[in-house]
């Protein structure tokens, strides 16, 4: 039996709730069953449906934006299994095989790379007081993930087990590294923009702006050594308040 486009659409839409029952034991397991259920219901009946559904509720964890690729491929394999065909790989084994690499690449690409890039660009707008900054963020961030969510699902369903090659062919791990590098460069530009603007507002010597580089690196080292963000925020705020309360104006020293 072939799954109808409507059934596949229902599965795809349900994948937006993949992490709805996320827990420390099976992570996205129950969510994966929930997403696949409309298709499983068409392919199996009775005890077989019960057994296959139970299998899909086992431990599962991947990146939510790449989960549609896995789900698409699983649907193709389930179609074949329901027809009684012999599969090249067990479906649970296939899920285990692809989930971890997809999770690693997705985390690095989307969370570690794309998110800081989109945030950096939108903050440039926000610093200028442009109220469309949130929209800039949403558009920039969502275009690539939505492409992966839509075409990953279609590609996964068409190619089945061969959809795994996608990851290698498009060198997604390399893209993740490049996106992270872009994020670092962009954040450097954003930092410079904010500092320059502030120095202009208070009419302070611009040369002071370069002192921000070692300060940021110092704070970064503190974070790397495990100091929490909350502590960094509170300590930095306290220092700035303390300095300004006692009338110390470091920018004034330079203008003498």
């Amino acid at each position: 039996m072939k799954l109808s486009p409507l059934t596949r659409l229902r599965v795809w839409l349900r994948l937006f709730l993949l992490q709805g029952s996320w827990n420390f034991e099976r992570l996205q397991g129950l969510g994966f069953f929930f997403a696949l259920y409309p298709a499983l219901q068409k392919l199996y009946r009775g005890e077989q449906l019960q057994q296959v559904s139970h299998e899909h509720a086992a431990y599962f964890n991947t990146h939510p934006f790449l989960a549609p690729s896995v789900a698409g491929a699983v649907l193709e394999l389930e179609e074949r299994r329901s027809r009684g065909e012999e599969l090249p790989v067990d479906i649970q084994e296939f899920k285990e095989m692809v989930a971890a690499p997809y999770a690693a690449v997705g985390d690095a690409l989307f969370w570690g790379g794309l998110r800081p890039v989109a945030a950096g660009v939108s903050l440039l707008f926000a610093v200028k007081g442009i109220v469309l900054a949130p929209l800039v963020f949403l558009v920039l961030f969502n275009l690539p993930p939505m492409w992966f969510r839509v075409f990953g699902f279609i590609h996964g369903y068409r190619k089945g087990i061969r959809s795994m090659e996608f990851l290698q062919r498009h060198r997604l791990p390399d893209w993740a590294i490049r996106t992270k590098e872009t994020a670092v460069v962009l954040l450097g530009g954003l930092g410079a923009f904010m500092v320059f603007q502030q120095l202009q507002v208070v009419d302070a010597p611009k040369i002071l702006g370069f002192s921000v580089i070692p300060l940021v690196i110092l704070l970064g080292l503190c974070a790397r050594r495990g100091m929490s963000v909350l502590v960094l925020v509170l300590v930095t705020t306290a220092v700035i308040i303390f300095v300004s309360l006692f009338g110390v104006d470091p920018t004034g020293w330079m203008s003498i």
Binding site: L17, Q19, G20, S21, W22, N23, F24, L27, G29, L30, G31, F34, Y37, E47, L49, Q50, S53, H54, A57, A103, G112, A118, A119, L123, A126, V127, G129, V131, A133, P134, F137, L138, N142, E181, V184, V185, L187, G188, G191, A192, F193, M194, V195, F196, Q198, F210, V216, I217, G220, A223, V229, L230, L232, V233, L234, T237, I240, I241, S244, L245
Partner: protein
């Protein structure tokens, strides 16, 4: 009017809170989106934009990878905006220093909010056990309802975090404003840019990129020079 503000804030907290983990994940949960959205509904988008800008980068380096539970910056952003606008009207305060005070209070209380997120995930273990029983009984509709119950729990966790921050803020902000507002008045502009810079520092300290400090220093230096000289 304050009640309306709190309810509107709760709606944003709920919708954006679900986007964090349980549903959609189209990133309306990011502070740069959630805070201006709350601000817009409460009639002052500028306040939301300021708050979103200041905290967007703070916890961006804490990735929701595997079993990690990052701090709930969504609720800090929404509750911080509601406190700034709602309490501002109530106490007759406005301006950057008051926004910063509310934000600092919300950020500190946000740590408590992590408890609700963790609790929802722990409770979902029981959901999993119920789903197991449903599978064994052949009741697949019940197993699906168990999954949806998890979504409901995440919604409650979002509201719980929002409630704790707002309630704590309502107690703390009136007490702290006479003490801290004068100090913040002279330093607000510097703190406003210090917060995103801390976020950038944390990202640099944790991002897995070789030569990240070189790249950052070069781009910062070049961009700064260009703005200075051109």
């Amino acid at each position: 009017m304050l009640v309306v503000d709190l309810i509107l804030g709760a709606v944003v907290a709920l919708v954006c809170g679900l986007d964090r983990v349980a549903a959609l994940q189209i990133m309306i949960s990011r502070p740069i989106v959630a805070a201006p959205l709350a601000g817009w509904l409460l009639g002052d988008i500028e306040v939301g934009l300021q708050i979103g800008m200041m905290i967007e980068l703070l916890w961006l380096a804490r990735l929701p990878v595997g079993a990690a539970v990052p701090p709930d910056d969504t609720q800090v952003a929404v509750a911080g905006t509601v406190l700034s606008i709602g309490m501002g009207k109530l106490l007759g305060h406005n301006g950057l220093e008051f926004i910063l005070l509310c934000l600092l209070v919300a950020t500190s209380l946000g740590k408590l909010g992590q408890f609700f997120d963790r609790f929802a995930r722990l409770q979902n273990r029981q959901t999993m056990e119920k789903a197991e029983a449903a599978f064994n009984a052949g009741d697949l509709s019940a197993a699906q309802r168990c999954h949806l119950a998890g979504v409901f729990r995440f919604a409650l966790a979002a509201l719980g975090t929002y409630g704790v921050i707002v309630a704590g803020g309502f107690l703390l902000v009136p007490v702290l404003s006479p003490i801290l507002l004068s100090g913040l008045k002279h330093s607000a502009d510097w703190i406003r840019i210090a917060l995103p810079l801390i976020g950038i520092a944390v990202i640099l300290g944790t991002i897995n990129v070789s030569r990240s400090l070189t790249l950052f220093s070069a781009s910062f230096g070049m961009a700064f020079l260009l703005m200075w000289l051109v």
